[in-house]
């Protein structure tokens, strides 16, 4: 054996070991522990599938998943619809020298705490908040409208956050797009709308899908926003998981619910995997 060859083989392994170790320690092992826990009884009994069967047989638990999927789908769709034109304006309409500043301003809300941002929305949407004051003072409504502590409030809080995230991914994709594509489309007689629909949009689909997937994953697993803004008028999956831990410390059921949530995320990943592949030169 040539020592130099051995050394050459060992180097990549040495470089990848920290990442593998990290993944093993902070993902694989906790995941296995969670899987094991989900198959045990809360009272310390042996193997059981009852934690999973509870989810499928209790309509209130099942409803939490339906609520989560509905909220996540709406948030993802609305965020994409708002972020795309915003990213397009930044990439196409804002002069190159101002783009960095504009992008920084666009992501400025990222700099504030997530919790503070959610409570701020609660104040804005409250009965005596800015929006209700404007609605009643302008005479559009005689009584304040219930905006806070609703699903709408939860969606608003989420969209505010995820539009920024999606703007970044779509902006990056738009900037990578060579101007030659548009020129070629124009040479072939396509107008701006047709060029956008048949050239720009399909080519920026990976950026949209990456952002949408990130939005989906972060949104469906978020506890803070629905807890603060939703007023517990309906439960989402993360809230249901937390409920099992608070007083009763039912970690097996919480684990089973978390694994079901993870399965949904995995399905979402597989659905858009073709757009999430890393391009290799």
């Amino acid at each position: 054996m040539n020592p130099a060859t051995n050394s050459g083989r060992a180097l990549p392994w040495a470089l990848v070991t920290p990442a593998l170790g990290w993944t093993l320690l902070f993902f694989v092992l906790p995941f296995l522990a969670m899987g094991f826990s989900s198959l045990t009884a809360h009272d310390g009994g042996g193997f059981t599938l009852s934690n999973y069967s509870q989810f499928f047989t209790n309509p209130a638990y099942w409803q939490a998943m339906v609520n989560s999927l509905q909220v996540t789908a709406i948030v993802t769709l609305v965020s994409v619809l708002l972020a795309y034109p915003f990213a397009w304006i930044l990439a196409e309409q804002v002069p190159e020298r101002w783009q960095r500043l504009a992008l920084m301003l666009a992501v400025l809300p990222f700099w504030t705490s997530y919790v503070v941002r959610s409570y701020s929305w609660l104040l804005v949407l409250a009965q005596n908040g800015v929006i209700n004051r404007a609605l009643t003072d302008s005479g559009l409504f005689t009584e304040p409208v219930q905006l806070a502590n609703t699903r709408l409030a939860t969606i608003t809080g989420f969209v505010h956050f995820f539009v920024m995230l999606l703007t970044l991914t779509i902006f990056a994709n738009l900037k990578q797009l060579s101007p030659s594509y548009r020129k070629a489309a124009a040479d072939l007689g396509a107008g701006p709308v047709r060029t956008f629909l048949h050239v720009v949009l399909p080519l920026t689909l990976p950026g949209i899908m990456v952002g949408a997937f990130l939005t989906f994953v972060l949104c469906i697993g978020d506890y803070i926003t629905p807890q603060i803004l939703g007023g517990n008028n309906e439960l989402l999956m993360p809230q249901l998981v937390m409920m099992q831990i608070g007083r009763r410390g039912d970690f097996p059921l919480a684990s089973a619910l978390s694994i079901i949530l993870m399965a949904i995320v995995t399905i979402a990943y597989l659905s858009c995997a073709r757009w999430l592949k890393i391009e290799r030169a």
Binding site: A60, A64, N149, E234, G246, R247, R248
Partner: protein, 363 residues
């Protein structure tokens, strides 16, 4: 040459670095545990994190009190289970949950002769929970009521003398519900004429109906901060499950907030202090418990910045104004009308939580 090759091998380099890192970590941990050994480590609720409460004890004993806040007995027990024996010295816990800790072998019996038990309000000693097999494992330090908190300038105080006001049409959309299933289920039980100490699974359908009626009138179901904020900002006028723990701390800024003990009664909550069996600082832990139970400690705990509550010790050194805000002199009447916190067994507890989940999901 072979030595040189070994030195050049990245895996060997990594291995030696890992060894060095492990040694450094072990050293740090050893140093850390030495530092911790001289301190008092307390698992607490937020009212114990107030520097005004902790500083006098720290200064008097020349120690540092390291605190970790948690919410819910389950979460607290999980922290203990994930810690090393001896990591924690004392714990604040729902009085009704002390037997859970004893069953897990966590707590140390407390010396009754060194605690001011005779000075406590008799009704809050909670011996059925704090004494197990003849040994005292906890001492009630603070209590209060889960009842009706309200803004007296927005609602008719006379209406707040009955739990029926919570399900009628008059205050629809003006109500928030405190998001903790045990006390609010207790209130629903009181509303339908049940005794909180005698609840069984057979009572749950009627309790659920009552909860659903409350939910239909409610704008939100919120945890401590959310429900407190909703009442304080005028988002709602009534808080189901509220009491002095919501209104007293806000009395200066918002004197319109008050609470009632309706004719059907209220649910008595109480929190206790327990000492860990594996504590390495049992003497200091006992000193801490004695300090919290002293008239001065009780006054500071009762008026903690996180939330106010009634001190368990009748001799708490509260000012006249503080006593007035806490309605100290009315306690004998309140206690006579209050019912105990529901203390279900594990099976009924789970079913109660499921009823609560169904209530939250109801539209």
């Amino acid at each position: 040459m072979s030595i040189n090759m070994k030195t050049m091998n990245p895996l060997s380099v990594l291995k030696s670095h890992l060894r060095a890192a492990c040694a450094a970590t072990a050293l740090l941990l050893a140093t850390g545990s030495l530092v911790q050994a001289a301190d008092l480590n307390a698992l607490i609720w937020c009212d114990h994190a107030d520097p005004a409460l902790l500083q006098p004890f720290e200064e008097a004993n020349g120690v540092k009190v390291n605190v970790k806040e948690f919410e819910g007995t389950g979460a607290g027990m999980a922290i203990v289970e994930q810690s090393q024996p001896g990591d924690w010295d004392v714990m604040v816990i729902d009085s009704i949950d002390i037997p859970r800790g004893v069953e897990k072998g966590l707590f140390e019996p407390l010396p009754e002769d060194k605690l001011p038990l005779a000075d406590l309000f008799p009704q809050v000693k909670m011996d059925s929970s704090t004494v197990v097999d003849g040994k005292r494992y906890g001492i009630t330090e603070k209590f209060g009521y889960n009842t009706i908190g309200y803004n007296k300038t927005k609602v008719d105080p006379a209406d707040m003398q009955s739990l029926a006001a919570l399900t009628g049409d008059k205050y629809k959309g003006k109500i928030a519900i405190y998001d903790y299933y045990l006390p609010v289920i207790g209130m629903a039980a009181l509303a339908i004429g049940k005794k909180t100490a005698e609840l069984t699974e057979a009572d749950l359908p009627a309790i659920k109906d009552e909860l659903l009626k409350m939910k239909a009138n409610a704008k939100l179901v919120g945890e401590v901060t959310a429900s407190q904020t909703a009442l304080a900002t005028g988002e709602v006028d009534i808080l189901v499950g509220g009491g002095e723990w919501v209104t007293a701390g806000l009395a200066k800024e918002n004197p319109a907030l008050d609470f009632s003990i309706p004719k059907e009664g209220a649910v008595l909550w109480s929190q206790s202090l327990a000492m860990f069996k594996d504590s390495e600082n049992k003497d200091l832990a006992l000193k801490f418990i004695q300090y919290i139970m002293s008239p001065e400690g009780q006054a500071r705990l009762a008026t903690s910045s996180c939330y106010w509550g009634m001190p368990a010790n009748t001799k708490a050194a509260l000012s006249d104004e503080q006593k007035k805000i806490l309605r100290f002199d009315e306690q004998p009447d309140f206690l006579a009308r209050a019912q105990s916190y529901p203390a279900p067994n594990a099976d009924l507890d789970k079913k109660m939580q499921d009823v609560w989940t169904e209530m939250l999901q109801a539209q």
